[in-house]
């Protein structure tokens, strides 16, 4: 933080006058834009602590005149939000663990091992990235039904245990690890699995952090597939529970927006504290 603050001073000191005027306009526009972007979050979050009557009151209040957590307690009593929260966490953590291991294994093979059809296979990774979930949803569901995995965690998780974006990220990262390191281990007689687990994987820590976060976020926010596989309330993930509740209780805004906050807040907090990894992931995979 300190280092950034000092570079902030140095930068503005170096700016010539005209550029300063110009950047003042940029500041004004960016601030206005930021207010528009942040307003829905702030308003909703504050409103979720108001009693139902105050939410509907006209003229509205910005800060709750009467702070209450009754929307949140009602949420957990009435819509089984605790279970949904737990389900979302189980699914997300399972997918993070699976993707960290499997994507880096596959990425290692694509980056450092030679085998037939390597390029063809990598092309297929790209193909899978392009296949929209909605397009394969019906046959995927039929398959899951045949396997007897409807309404199970395994059914929700299986199609996503090795995401193509993760393979792509890990391949890019592992490709930059010097070949000599791996060659030296091979000369010493280490097997590929040893090399992978004791040399490659520890070096991948920064990439794994990014991959873990992106996987967690994607899983936490995913709606379509969990909505298809989870068929009873005790298997709903948060977005599924919220969407169903929202269709059933169209006007119970207190409960609804408290639900929205519970879905959004964990990712928001992760993002605020670890945003470096999120943005890095987008920037590094998006453009290469």
């Amino acid at each position: 933080m300190k280092r950034r603050a000092s570079s902030f001073k140095a930068d503005s000191g170096r700016e010539p006058r005209s550029a300063f005027g110009r950047s003042r306009l940029a500041y004004a526009l960016l601030t206005a834009g930021l207010l528009v972007v942040v307003f829905p979050f702030v308003w909703t979050m504050l409103a979720s602590f108001k009693p139902e009557g105050e939410i509907r009151q006209n003229p509205p209040t910005l800060l709750p005149a009467e702070w209450t957590t009754s929307n949140y307690t009602g949420l957990f009593e009435r819509m089984n939000m605790g279970t949904a929260f737990l389900n979302s966490a189980i699914v997300a953590i399972a997918l993070v663990v699976a993707n960290l291991l499997l994507c880096s294994m596959v990425g290692y093979a694509f980056a450092k091992l030679r085998f037939r059809f390597r390029n063809t296979l990598f092309g297929l990774v790209m193909v899978q990235m392009m296949v929209p979930a909605i397009v394969v949803m019906v046959p995927q569901f039929v398959l899951i039904a045949k396997l007897g995995l409807v309404n199970t965690f395994l059914g929700i998780v299986l199609p996503f245990i090795v995401a193509p974006l993760g393979i792509f990220m890990m391949r890019q990262f592992i490709a930059d690890i010097p070949d000599e390191l791996i060659q030296a281990a091979r000369v010493d007689g280490a097997r590929e699995f040893r090399i992978f687990f004791s040399i490659v994987l520890p070096l991948c820590r920064p990439a794994l952090a990014t991959l873990g976060l992106i996987t967690f976020m994607t899983s936490w926010n995913n709606f379509l597939w969990p909505a298809v596989v989870a068929q009873s309330e005790d298997m709903y993930t948060l977005p599924v529970a919220l969407a169903i509740f929202s269709n059933a209780q169209a006007t119970q805004y207190g409960l609804l927006i408290a639900g929205a906050v519970v879905v959004v807040a964990p990712i928001l907090l992760l993002f605020l504290f670890l945003q470096r990894y999120f943005v890095q992931g987008i920037a590094s995979t998006g453009l290469k």
């Binding site: 940029a26 528009v36 596959v106 030679r114 085998f115 936490w220 927006i257 998006g286």
Partner: protein
Amino acid sequence: MAVTLERPALKEKPSLKIRKPRNSWVAWIFVLPFVIVFVVFWAGPLLAGLGMSFTDMRSTDVRDPLAVDVVGVENYLRLFTDDLMRKAALNTLIFVVTTLPLTIALGLAAAVALNSGISRLPAAFFRLGYYTPYITSIIGIAVAWRFLLDPDAGPVNQFLAWIGIDGPAWLSDERTALPVIIVMTAWRSFGFDMVVLLAALQGIPKELYEAADIDGAGRWQRFRSVTVPMLKPALLFCTVYSSIGFAQFMEEPLVMTRGGPAGATTSASLAIYNQFGAGAYGYAGAAATVLFTVIVALALLQFRIGRRS
């Protein structure tokens, strides 16, 4: 000729073998997780979906595959005469064609503003704020927006009433429902384009701008003849990536309008989802196949155009 060309290659192989051990079966173990998941959960279903689209398969047939009859292209013909499907296709087209330029324009504007001499700390702060909606759950966002736009309880119309405007019932009015979802999606998505375009902007060599300055180019000219051409790959990426995503929009109307009023916000994906819910697997498969074909064609077309210019 072929023989003389092959010989040296054959001779070289043994020496290669010594330096790089042929670990090809080990490599296959490493890629096996991907191969299995790809074949079983993606390629298989993609082909099965295509096959399904030529049958009258329904949800009840999952246990009894013998009840499924091949009906040829009947599902596809029905698709083109189904008013709701046609409406869904049109809505999706309108949605993509309007949301795409809006999102990219906002993303570009934010990226250019952030790159115009903003100091690092505030720049990081703005970037964080703008990116926030993109990483949060669409369902959560859609619920929040439905509340904000509620004609009675929502602050949007309450503010409008303050300045004497009688705001419409945004989501239950056929004229405003889809535009509202378009604006919301642009609001949610432009942060992604901003991050990509900002990275590209920062990669433009300063010398190019200096050369343009020497040539006496004004600010607009510099933007048009240096910035935009240098941003082309990033813009192309944003266009292709976003249009693939936008062509599948469904959570927003599902939560905010349930596709209504009168099908005004039913998207292609939502229509497929509803057909699946109604148990019409064959019909849903046909719609999904058409959507996939359009998405792939769109992506290829954009790459073509992007490469040519």
